[in-house]
Amino acid sequence: MSTPTMTFHPQPQPGTPTPWAFPAPQRLTLANGLTVLHCDRPGQQLVAVEVLLDAPLAAEPPGLDGVATLLARAFNEGTDTLTAEEFAAELERAGATMDAHADHPCLRVVLDVPASRLERGLTLLADALRAPALPADEIERLVANRLDEIVHEQANPARRAAKALYAELFDAADRLSRPRAGSAETVRGIDRAAVQAFYAAHVRPSTATLVIVGDLTGVDLPALLESTLGRWTGEKAEPGTTTPVTADDRGRVVIVDRPGSVQTQVLIGRIGPDRHDPSWAAQILGTYCLGGTLTSRLDRVLREEKGYTYGVRAFAQPLRSDAQGTGRALLAISGSVDTASTAPALADTWTILRTLAAEGLTDSEREEAVQFMVGVAPLKYETAGSVAGTLADQVEQQLPDDFQAKVYQQLAALSTEEATTAVVAAFPPERLVTVLVGDASVIAEDVKALGIGEVTVVS
C-alpha cells in the first residue's frame, strides 16, 4: 500500500506584527527610604515581588563565606510574632512562596503571591525583613543543612565544574573565586550571632529596592506599600561600592577527576564586557549565533552532526557591575559530552571558534538571531515574574530602567560585522580556561594532545 499524501501549500508569510515594548516601570520612594519600581500587568494574577538588599557577598566578614546565604535562608524561619513553622504555614495559607538567595551583587528576596492575597503576602515579606526571628536552633539546622548540601554539590558534575572555573579565573582574595554559599570550613563557623550581625550591618530600607509586577488593578499601591513594607525601619546608610573584576584567562585546562563518569562536563570560560559596555548588545547577538540554540554553530556540529552531546550553550552572565563600568560578565561555553567524545568535541569547538574568527558570521545567521531575540521578547516577558526578574537585574547592575527596552532597539540595528567583532573578542581560542569534570584516566592524554593549554588534573 502506498503512503497516502496530503495537499501541500506554500510556506505562509507573516501577518502584521503588533507593536510591543518592554514594560516601563514607575518609581516611588516610601517614607522609610525604600525605593520602589512598579509595573502594572493586567491579567497577570500571580504578582511577583523582588526585594534587593545591599548585602553583597564581598561584604561577608573574612572567614565567614556563606553568612549571606544563611541569612537569606533564615528570612523564612519566623518573625517577632511567628515561629518558623507558623511563618511557613502563613505563607502557604496565602498561596504564596518566598525564597531568598545571596549572590555577588546583592541578596534578593522573591515573593510570588496571587493578586487576591497581595496584602497578606506583602505583610509577611515585610515582617521577615523588618523583624526576622533568626532563631539560634533553626540557624544551627540551616548550617547543618548547608554542610550536607556541599556534599551533594561535590557529586554534581555541573556544580563541580563551576566551582573549579571560578577558583581558576579569580584571585583567591576576590570573593568571586569562592563558592557563593560558602565552603565546609567557613560554614562551620557561622552561628546566630554572625547571621544577626550581618543582618544588622546590611539590611535596611534606605539601601534596598523593591520591584513589584503584576495585575495591580484597583490597588492603591503607595498606601498598600506604606502599610506593609513602610513599617520596616533602619538607619540611613550609603550604598556600598564594588571593586573592579579582573581574571586570569591564560589558556589552560583543568581536569577535575571524577572516576567512572560516563560523560565529561565541559565548562569553558573567561570574563568580558558586562551590560554597561557599548558592545553588550553585539556580544549577546554574536554569542547567540555561536551557541544560543541547537541551530547555532556549536550544536550544529557537536549535536546535530556528531551526536556528541544533548546540547552545548554559550552565554554571558554578569558577575558584578556598577555604573562606573568596573564590572565584568562571565563568558562561557557549557555542556556535557560522552566520555569517549571529550577530545573530539573540544577539537571541534576550537575549530568552530577559529573559523568564526577567520570568516565571521553570515548575514543570514545575524538576521535569524535578531528575529529570534527581538521577536521572542513578548513571549519571554509574558509573566509578571520574568518582568520583575529583569527589572531587578537592572537595579542590581546599576542600569537605567529603560535598559532592556533599548537593548531591543540596538539589536535590530546591529550589523553582522559588529556581532562578529564582539563574539570573536569574547571567545579568543588562546584565552580560554577549560574545566573538564570527568574520568581523567580516560580523557587526560587525548586532551593534552589537543594543544589548547597546559593540562592539570585535580581530584
Binding site: P42, Q45, A96, S116
Partner: protein, 446 residues
C-alpha cells in the same frame, strides 16, 4: 469574546473560565481554540495520543526517540528547518514525551501563527518523506547523551526508572520510563520509526489547541487548509491493559549501594487514577504531608528530628494506570534509614487516623490554587492543559472546573484516601546507601 483575564480580579484569584471553542475536522483531528488578547502571542500545542506505554518489549524509548526525529525535517521543511523557521520568526518550541502522550508546542508572536500551523501539518502529513538513516543515527546518539546527562551521570539519576520498575510489574505498560534503555535505543531501526509514525501520527490520534491573540474564524480556516487533507488512518492498537489492584498488597523494597553523596529513601505509593475525585483528595493529602516547609514530613524530619536535609511528596498523575505518590527524602549527617522509615510510618498512621486539620486543608488548597494559576498564566500553559483534558478525559472544557473540584474535596475524603493508600503495604521503596567504591557504575552505562 470576553477578555478572560480582565474579569479575573473579582474571582478571588481563581481566574475566570477559559473561553473554549471546539471543532473536529473530517479526518478526525480535534481542534480546541481559546482567544485571549492580553499579549500579542499565540500558542500552538499538539498532543499525540501515544507515549511510552504504547512501546513494546525490546523497543523502550522509541516514542521519545521518535519525538526527536519529528524535528529533523519533513517534505517541505529541511533538516532543522522546523527550529530555524520558528526561532527565526521569534517563536519558541519544543516537544516532550511521557508515559501517556507526546506533545509538540510552538509559542509564536501572534502574526506568525500561520507558520506554526503549516509546520505542524507538514510533519504530521509528510515526515517520512524526509526521515533517513543519517538523522536516525544522529538522534540516537543525541538521545543516548540525553540519557547520560539526565540519568546516568548524576547521583540518584536512575531512581525514577528503578522505582517505576518496582511499582509497576514486569510486562505492565508503565513498567519502563520514556527515556528507555541504552540497549533498546541501540536496537531501534529506521523501519521501527517509520512503522511508529504510520501507526500513531494520524490526525485522528491527535488534539490541536491554539490559545492567545487569535481570530477564531481565521484560525480554524488555517487549520482546515493545512491539516484538512492529511488522511486519517486507523492502525493503532490500544495500549496494553494497565489495570492493577488498588493497592500493592505488600511493600517492595530494593537497597542500592552506589556512589551517592548521602543516604536516601525514595518511595512510590499506588494512588487513584487521574481524573477522579479520589486523585484530587490524594493530591491534597500529599500536599499536607509533604509539599512545602509547613508540611508534616518537613516539620518532622527536617525541622524536629533533623534526620533529613529534604523531604517532599509529589503526585505523578496518570490516567491509564494508577497514579504514583512520590516521596523523596535525603538524609542528613549520620541519620539512618531506619530512623527515617519509622518517622514516616508514624506520620502516615497519624494522618490516616485524624486526617488534615481545617488549617492544613486550607493551606493545601491555597498551594494547589497557586500552582494552577501559575500553569494557566501563560498561553502555552493553557494550550497544554486544553490538550490534556481533551486527550486524557475526552473534554477540554473540564479544565474550567478543575480547580473547583480540588477546592470541593473535604477533610474526611482526604483522610479516607490516605488511610486506604498511604500505607506501608502499598509502596515500592528504594534505599540508597553510599559507597566509596569508585568503580561501581550503572551496568547500562559502560
Amino acid at each position: 469574546m470576553a477578555n478572560p483575564a480582565a474579569e479575573a480580579t473579582s474571582t478571588g484569584g481563581t481566574g475566570a473560565p477559559i473561553a473554549i471553542t471546539e471543532h473536529r475536522l473530517a479526518n478526525g483531528l480535534r481542534v480546541v481554540l481559546s482567544e485571549d488578547h492580553l499579549t500579542p502571542v499565540a500558542a500552538v500545542c499538539l498532543w499525540y495520543d501515544v507515549g511510552s506505554r504504547h512501546e513494546v518489549k525490546g523497543r523502550t524509548g522509541l516514542a521519545h526517540l521518535f519525538e526527536h526525529l519529528m524535528f529533523q525535517g519533513s517534505a517541505n521543511v529541511s533538516g532543522n528547518g522546523h527550529f530555524e523557521l520558528v526561532q527565526g520568526a521569534g517563536g519558541s518550541l519544543n516537544g516532550t514525551t511521557s508515559f501517556e502522550r507526546t506533545n509538540y508546542f510552538e509559542t509564536m508572536p501572534a502574526h506568525q501563527l500561520e507558520l506554526a500551523l503549516w509546520l505542524e501539518a507538514d510533519r504530521m502529513g509528510s515526515l517520512l518523506a524526509a526521515l533517513d538513516e543519517t538523522s536516525m543515527e544522529n538522534q540516537r546518539d543525541v538521545v543516548k547523551n540525553e540519557r547520560r546527562q539526565r540519568y546516568d551521570n548524576v547521583p540518584y539519576g536512575t531512581a525514577l526508572e528503578k522505582l517505576t520498575a518496582l511499582a509497576y510489574p514486569e510486562g505492565h505498560p508503565y513498567h519502563h520510563t520514556p527515556i528507555g534503555s541504552m540497549a533498546d535505543l541501540d536496537a531501534a531501526t529506521l523501519a521501527d520509526a517509520q512503522e511508529f509514525f504510520r501507526t500513531y501520527y494520524a490526525p485522528n490520534n491527535a488534539v490541536l489547541s491554539v490559545v492567545g491573540d487569535i481570530d477564531l474564524e481565521q484560525t480554524i480556516a488555517w487549520v482546515e487548509k493545512y491539516f484538512g487533507s492529511i488522511p486519517e488512518h486507523h492502525g493503532k492498537q490500544p495500549p496494553r491493559d494497565g489495570t492493577l489492584p488498588d493497592t500493592m498488597g505488600g511493600e517492595l523494597r530494593e537497597e542500592l549501594h552506589e556512589e551517592v553523596p548521602s543516604r536516601a529513601l525514595m518511595s512510590a505509593y499506588r494512588l487513584p487514577h487521574d481524573g477522579t475525585r479520589e486523585a484530587d483528595a490524594a493530591d491534597l493529602a500529599l500536599t499536607v504531608l509533604g509539599s512545602g516547609e509547613s508540611s508534616r514530613l518537613y516539620n518532622r524530619l527536617v525541622r524536629r528530628d533533623r534526620t533529613a536535609v529534604s523531604a517532599g511528596f509529589g503526585l505523578l498523575r496518570l490516567a491509564g494506570a494508577p497514579s504514583l505518590g512520590w516521596l523523596d527524602v535525603k538524609s542528613s549527617g549520620e541519620a539512618t534509614i531506619a530512623q527515617i522509615d519509622q518517622a514516616i510510618d508514624e506520620e502516615l498512621a497519624r494522618f490516616a487516623a485524624d486526617g488534615p486539620t481545617a488549617e492544613e486543608l486550607e493551606r493545601a488548597q491555597a498551594q494547589i490554587e497557586r500552582e494552577w494559576l501559575d500553569r494557566l498564566t501563560t498561553v502555552a500553559g493553557r494550550a497544554d492543559e486544553l490538550c490534556r483534558y481533551a486527550v486524557l478525559f475526552g473534554d477540554p472544557k473540564l479544565v474550567n472546573g478543575a480547580l473547583g473540584r480540588v477546592l470541593d474535596v473535604t477533610a474526611d475524603e482526604v483522610r479516607a484516601v490516605a488511610a486506604a493508600r498511604l500505607r506501608p503495604d502499598n509502596r515500592a521503596v528504594l534505599v540508597y546507601e553510599p559507597t566509596t567504591d569508585a568503580t561501581e557504575t550503572e551496568e547500562d552505562a559502560a
